[in-house]
Amino acid sequence: MALTDLHTNRIDLKLVAEMVTPGSRVLDVGCGDGELLALLADSRHVDARGIELSREGVAGCVARGLSVIQGDADTDLADYPDDSFDYVILSQTIQATRNPRLVLEQMLRIGRRAIVSFPNFGHWRMRTQVFFMGRMPVTDSLPYAWWDTPNIHFCTIRDFVTLCDTIGAEKERAVALDAAGGKVGVSAPWWLWNLFGAQAVFLLKRG
């Protein structure tokens, strides 16, 4: 499906939406204000559900007519039966979970596919800030000081690949986006992705 008929400015959301088969059942974990859910419902006609920790986020989602449950990704995924969804999505949220491995395992249990997008801590800007300034990086996409960030488990693209291998998740597709939102060369080696990808989107299935 062409990206042009997806009405959002967030290139990562467009990428995620592209990976979802129209008409499928989708759970968005950490759905925030529901932008991705609304996009999926409108453009992919999916049966879209969400989980969101913040009361404001949930209230906003319900008010715009989305099916969203206030809950915690770290604990509440256990309540869903196996294979409840075609896709379970974790968009820009894995770094805020207490137990990313468990969350990923649960996603692959309750969904046939998992889609994970996350900011790459191995990006050259991050590395430069740590290396030259000796300080925790603060960027446009991660605008928090170390002491007030909701993000507690940063990883690099390579780290994430290692986690996938550890839990036996098969990588069906992977895309890295540079800071401007362009795709980093599809055939490029992992080290190049890890250096120039500001964020990454992975489509996973059980191995």
Partner: protein, 389 residues
Amino acid sequence: MSDLSPSLADPLKEANEPSSLVARFGPDTPLLMDCGVSLDHWQIAYQTYGSLNAARSNAILVCHALTGDQHLASRNPITGKGGWWTAMIGPGKPIDTERFFVICSNVIGGCTGTTGPASTNAATGKPWGLQFPVVTIRDMVRAQRHLIDSLGIESLFCAAGGSMGGMQVLQWAASYPERVFSALPLATGAKHSAQNIAFHEVGRQAVMADPDWRGGRYLEEGTRPAKGLSVARMGAHITYLSEPALHRKFGRKLQDREAPTFSFDADFQVESYLRYQGVSFVERFDANSYLYMTRAMDYFDLADDHGGVLAKAFAGTKTRFCVASFTSDWLFPTADSRAIVHALNAAGASVSFVELESDKGHDAFLLEEPNLFATTRGFIGAAARARGI
């Protein structure tokens, strides 16, 4: 009838001859109750707002709470006050009567026109009193289903309600899933907790300890257990509020005096408030009906009806749910709502859940809470789009 000089209806007369709509059923439509009794002469009093569309697809059933009635959004003939959910229901309001056909019935066992202990038993010509069969939430829903049938409505667009009304909403969704397109259970639980049963028992004992209760035959004997019922209401009323709400409203302020009287008068404002609540409740509610209503809530345990697994109550449901709780509700705390949501998830149901911020306690669902209104409006609006209304 002018609102300036309202002539108030007699509660005793209202029990049999309500000043609202009423559907009467005879032996061809008996009400089969959980306790095994079959009522073959019974009636259900109700009010409607808005109009049913040609497709009969826009009906919203609102289920009332413990001491509520059918006077949802219009003047109550007994108290002369406005309906109990006028903030929520009306033209342009979150449940918009210009768009939806809203029905509210008095539940079976109630005392404002639906058959209950204060009604006359056709077989004896006397008030039913304690001879009335014990009522369950499922009985209430069964009676409502007969009403909905008689109105020619195949499927409700939505069943909505808080507290005991929320229990009915859950029961509707469990008993007749194909007849409920969407469900909005608020500030409720799939079972009544031990603590809640305990509070109810205190209330019932207060009623029964009143010598004017006369073993439940007070209507025949011309007395009323006003003191007992008033105490029951005072106790229950505390559970509907929260400490912050009580504190904000009354604190430790004294009532009409500068210093304590060193007596057991209502020195504190909160005391005189509770006494007022108790007395005004007695004017509009039947003591035996209070016993039956509280009992119905106590018996409610939806999981127990399904082998202890709540998810089975909702297996295969296509109903869209929106569950909401309030942060300061200690009668039906958020954990109760979460248990419902977990079960709905396990059943694969479409469900939204939000814990709404409020310091007003359990009663918050009856009050003007902007976030409750936004949630309701959003949920109903999305469900209406999905149903093509």
